[in-house]
């Protein structure tokens, strides 16, 4: 059997040829793997993109990564407090989506919910390993504002850092619920689906989480710019 090497020749979007060349030992090349793709738009639903990826359209995967990457990294970063680990988690979640693509049942779940669920589980595993290794969230990395700060964003940066530190002290499930509800902006039913709990349980977790945050940050009112009553 001839060994084949793959060489990327074109990665165009918008109907361009999106494929690989495979060259065998005799030097012959043939077009394999990727289909010629139609233009993608922002309005194409996630599950349609995933179906297109399952048929070999790599540009659909790029579009899905752009849509969900930042949110996944954000969730994992809030959970773990470490940017590099957060990127690993988000990449792993996307890889699992690629593997799941051929068996994806359209309409049974939302791609975004599924990705959050996988990322959350991966974060939980990572935190469990840390606990076994006796490493606290505060010990891993000092939370920093991942966006570059400019002078007029200093206040936001301080608030963001303080919140991240306070979140790190919350029980894990409260932290997850608060992040998903108040930072990622998911609805309670969506959070329930991600965490596999009832809407009432989500409400309870977020309420308790917020109470704990309000208490934990009470001593930092001035630092956060709330001296005048917020």
């Amino acid at each position: 059997m001839a060994m084949a090497s793959a060489t990327r020749i074109d990665r165009g979007l918008g109907g361009d040829l999106d494929g690989w060349n495979r060259r065998d030992n005799e030097g012959k090349t043939d077009q394999v793997m990727f289909r010629q793709v139609a233009p993608l738009s922002d309005t194409v639903p996630d599950d349609v993109l995933l179906a297109r990826y399952a048929e070999g359209d790599a540009s659909a995967a790029s579009e899905l990564s752009k849509r969900h990457g930042s949110r996944l990294i954000g969730l994992a970063w809030r959970m773990l407090g470490d940017r590099a680990e957060a990127e690993d988690i988000a990449q792993e979640a996307m890889l699992r989506l690629w593997r799941m693509a051929p068996d994806w049942q359209a309409g049974q779940a939302q791609v975004s919910t599924w990705l959050y669920q996988v990322a959350r589980n991966l974060c939980t595993d990572r935190l469990r390993r840390r606990r076994r290794a006796q490493v606290g969230l505060q010990d891993v990395a000092e939370p920093v504002d991942p966006a570059p700060s400019v002078p007029d964003q200093m206040q936001n940066a301080a608030r963001n850092a303080a919140l991240q530190q306070a979140l790190a002290d919350l029980p894990e499930r409260q932290r997850e619920a608060v992040i998903l509800r108040h930072i990622e902006g998911l609805s309670n039913p969506e959070i329930g689906a991600v965490m596999d709990i009832s809407v009432e349980a989500v409400e309870s977790l977020t309420a308790r989480g917020k109470r704990s945050l309000a208490q934990a940050l009470a001593g930092r009112r001035a630092e956060l710019g709330f001296e005048d009553g917020g």
Partner: protein, 118 residues
């Protein structure tokens, strides 16, 4: 005196700040994820669906199952074409033997008639 807890509005301001400073998936990360996606496509393309004969072989238990079946078929065919002498005798015995089952013997019948007659 204990510090006053943050109000709901103040917490919302913190969440807003956090939402605005969400990490962004940079080009390097997107590139790594695209590589994963393309590798997965290549992996799937290299994994052909099993052929008809591979499926049949799988159902029958692989090469062990097929080997056993081939031996059994060969032996059956051989016995059919050239049966061993001892096997022929036994088959003849089975096929040519008739048996009589005597439900009521003659003596027993006579005895019954005597009893019936009183």
């Amino acid at each position: 005196m204990a510090d006053k807890k943050l109000t709901g509005l103040e917490l919302d301001a913190l969440f807003e700040a956090a939402s605005q400073s969400r990490p962004v998936a940079d080009e390097a990360w997107l590139g790594r994820v695209a590589q994963d996606a393309e590798s997965e496509i290549r992996r799937r393309a290299g994994r052909r669906p099993p052929s008809f004969w591979q499926q049949i072989s799988g159902v029958l238990g692989g090469w062990q199952g097929l080997g056993g079946m081939a031996v059994a078929c060969g032996a059956g065919l051989w016995i059919g074409i050239a049966p061993p002498a001892s096997l022929s005798d036994q088959v003849a015995v089975v096929l040519n033997t008739s048996s009589t089952v005597e439900i009521l013997s003659e003596t027993a019948f006579d005895y019954a008639m005597v009893l019936d007659g009183g």
